[in-house]
């Protein structure tokens, strides 16, 4: 994994920790669907904050492919590389 990927992962985890249960540890293999109920409005609003962090927009269509925190990190990397 690249430094850039690790950095993206860390930045995402920082946001996710804000809505996770106190004490919960967010890692690359944390399942967003099980942990946060990905289809809820709450997580979609959180995604907006993550979008601002990276100055990108993540199309809703792509969110269906995101299960794990690592999926989200890879998708953000891909969108950033296409900028």
């Amino acid at each position: 994994m690249t430094d850039n990927y690790e950095n993206t992962l860390q930045r995402i985890c920082k946001h996710l920790e804000r809505i996770a249960d106190p004490g919960a540890i967010i890692r690359a293999d944390t399942n967003l669907v099980d942990e946060f109920a990905l289809d809820s409005v709450k997580i979609l609003d959180l995604i907006m904050e993550i979008e601002d962090e990276f100055d990108i927009s993540i199309p809703l269509n792509l969110m269906a492919d995101v299960q794990l925190v690592s999926d989200l990190a890879r998708m953000i990397e891909r969108i950033e590389s296409e900028k």
């Binding site: 809820s40 609003d45 907006m48 990108i56 927009s57 269509n61």
Partner: protein, 398 residues
């Protein structure tokens, strides 16, 4: 995994709610007495949760037009607009809608849901971008999905966020459709339309506004928010429904873009469904005439809305940010919302009960929607009842 597993999960989750009488979802209405009163659970109930903004469902002109259409054209068209279901009434209503908005083109759909589904999926394709307000209605989300276009949400009513997302699109803004609503159905607030129109123009994007809840409610002639904001000619596509202020069922889209007419051949929700029945079209046409001349109805509707909104606000209900005929009280928990809804029904008042994710901010809503047909006495009864029940809506920490 079994096909029905998701139903088991749903029932386990919702069983206590589904057991409540009268039913909170799909409340059985036994008889209608007027636009504002019905029999529910064997009792006469004041309806404060309909979308009958102008109270036209029993207007003599609309009833007569519907009766005549049934007598002359039958109960249904039995076919699509594209085949055998394209009657004079459908085409005349399109002409009347185009004239009403001062637009060149109009298309009539079978429902308001299909107006959004058909327009959005007909206009946008895989190479396009749909930039939608986060609070948009399910029909808009579904239309976006059906289109196959890239879907991006922006923060509700946030012009700065809209601008930011247009900027991020770079040279793709020319194939971007921004979608907003005149009045948002959950909290009753309005889009900051003038500012948003300026932003979309500056990026060369297109805009669609859904006036479902604002047709007949806003603007001097009732066009909706486009008229109230003075931007009718600067919005590319205007959709709406016949099932609220017009008291019928069906939907429309108007535009000055010629492509709207061509879209008929590309829009699956337009092509692959039966056209609205003659009586629905006839009553919608009669209602549209009343709506245009309905300044007195809008005045009464807004008097009713101002009175109830200010009363509930004084009593400490947490309401949407803007006064309007949709007045939603936000509760903290399902139990709190249920207690308020049940107490209202016991006192002879029906309102809507809405849970997340349909309700924003992860909080349940008790939603009133008012009508010009509500009498001052009915509004006062609503005010006194909400005053009596205010303690049920207090934040749990108090």
């Amino acid at each position: 995994m079994n096909l029905f597993d998701k139903f088991t999960t749903f029932i386990a989750d919702k069983e206590p709610l589904l057991a409540i009488k009268p039913e909170i979802f799909g409340t059985p209405i036994e008889k209608m007495y007027s636009p504002t009163e019905a029999s529910i659970g064997g009792r006469r109930i004041l309806l404060a949760g309909t979308n009958n903004y102008l109270g036209l469902t029993f207007a003599p002109e609309c009833l007569a037009a519907a009766h005549q259409a049934i007598d002359e054209e039958g109960t249904g068209t039995t076919g699509s607009r594209m085949a055998n279901g394209n009657y004079t009434g459908h085409r005349e209503l399109e002409r009347e809608f185009a004239e009403f908005y001062g637009c060149k083109h109009a298309v009539v759909f079978s429902t308001g849901y299909q107006a959004n589904l058909g327009t959005i999926s007909g206009l946008a394709g895989a190479a396009d971008v749909l930039l939608i307000d986060a609070h948009c209605h399910a029909s808009i989300y579904d239309g976006c999905r059906l289109s196959g276009a890239e879907i991006i949400r922006f923060r509700h009513n946030d012009t700065t966020d809209l601008e930011k997302r247009l900027r991020r699109l770079g040279d793709r803004t020319g194939s971007t459709l921004v979608i907003v609503e005149g009045i948002y159905s959950m909290l009753g607030d309005q889009a900051p339309l003038s500012a948003m129109v300026e932003v979309k123009k500056s990026y060369g994007a297109y805009m669609l506004i859904d006036e479902a809840h604002s047709l007949g409610v806003l603007g001097k002639t009732g066009q909706g928010l486009v008229e109230a904001a003075g931007v009718t000619n600067n919005v590319d596509f205007i959709t709406g429904t016949f099932s609220k202020s017009l008291g019928s069922i069906g939907g429309y889209c108007v535009s000055n873009h010629r492509e709207l007419d061509i879209m008929r051949y590309l829009s699956r929700p337009y092509i692959f469904t039966a056209s609205p029945s003659p009586s629905n079209i006839a009553s919608a046409r009669a209602a549209l005439r009343l709506l245009k001349d309905g300044e007195h109805l809008r005045k009464r509707l807004w008097e009713n809305a101002n009175r109830l909104y200010s009363c509930m606000q004084e009593q400490g209900y947490r309401l949407g940010p803007q006064v309007g005929p949709v007045i939603s009280a936000q509760l903290e928990t399902t139990e709190q919302a249920l207690a308020l809804w049940t107490a209202l029904i016991e006192r002879g008042i029906y309102v809507n009960l809405i849970f997340p994710p349909a309700a924003p901010h992860d909080k349940p809503l008790v939603r009133c929607s008012l009508s010009a047909a509500h009498t001052p006495e009915q509004i006062e009864y609503l005010c006194s009842t909400f005053t009596d029940l205010a303690s049920l809506a207090r934040p749990l920490s108090q």
